[in-house]
């Protein structure tokens, strides 16, 4: 885990929410979003991650990117627990629209409705959407 930058004194804990909306491959948003989460862990903030729309595919089990010659970074989601990032949510409507259940996912998540996620968003200090 990386250290917080020099000059950062710490102490302030804010609610940070990362919103992953896009499919894992095809664009780099998902991969670079995960990099923010991992670096951000050093700051010991109150972090949650939401997967919605095609973003639910980011944590789908059994991904193999060898044919497209990209790094299968999605395995790294399983390491989030070690970074104390434990609040993972998926949007129920997005899962249902794609015929997915939590059994299709490679990390433990809490399923919430769009409305519940909306309420969670209202509680946040910082929302970074990717």
């Amino acid at each position: 885990m990386e250290d917080a930058p020099e000059g950062y004194e710490g102490g302030v804990v804010k609610k940070f929410m990362y919103v992953n909306r896009r499919a894992p491959h095809g664009t780099i948003y998902a991969q670079e979003s995960l990099e923010v989460v991992l670096i951000g862990a050093a700051f010991e903030q109150d972090v949650s991650i939401v997967f919605l729309d095609d973003g639910v595919y980011q944590i789908r089990k059994g991904q193999d990117t060898s044919a497209i010659e990209t790094k299968n970074f999605t395995k790294t989601f399983r390491a989030l627990e070690m970074y104390d990032v434990e609040k993972l949510y998926v949007e129920k409507e997005s899962m249902e629209a794609r015929g997915m259940t939590v059994d299709d996912l490679n990390v433990p998540v809490e399923m919430k409705t769009s409305e519940e996620i909306g309420r969670l968003m209202e509680e946040q200090d910082v929302i970074l959407s990717f």
Binding site: E2, V12, F16, E32, E35, V36, I39, G40, V126, F130
Partner: protein
């Protein structure tokens, strides 16, 4: 209010880079403070001084540089995203043995921790992207 701005899309390709600039200018005109502008994903391409847009078009990079000089703005380009896309300052040029650097005046290259710190230090973080 103390604001930070995140720019996630490249210049010309996407209006997000323009809108972020106009937002910064308007916020400053209203007397708000911009703690930091953080460039991520293809947004790092806002920071190359080698861009040469047609003369009858807006010069997005130069516009950022001028705004930074006028208001002492902190324009930070994410190092990981910059390395992938070839945005290079003098330090990076030496470190990776490149024959040139291309960072525009007023920009600096630093880590993702700067984004998290911006979230902690600012009253609001405003994300411009797709």
């Amino acid at each position: 209010m103390k604001l930070s701005v995140v720019v996630n899309e490249g210049p010309y390709q996407h209006q997000a880079a323009d809108t972020a600039y106009h937002f910064c200018r308007a916020a400053l005109a209203k007397g708000h403070e911009i703690f930091r502008v953080f460039f991520y994903h293809d947004g790092v391409n806002n920071g190359t001084r080698l861009a040469t847009p047609p003369q009858d078009e807006r010069d997005i990079v130069k516009r950022w540089s001028e705004l930074a000089e006028k208001h002492d703005l902190d324009l930070v380009v994410c190092v990981a995203a910059a390395q992938r896309r070839g945005i290079v300052d003098e330090d990076e040029q030496k470190r990776h043995g490149k024959d040139v650097n291309n960072i525009a005046p007023g920009f600096r290259i630093s880590g993702l921790g700067q984004l998290i710190e911006a979230g902690i230090e600012s009253d609001r973080v405003v994300v411009f992207g797709d």
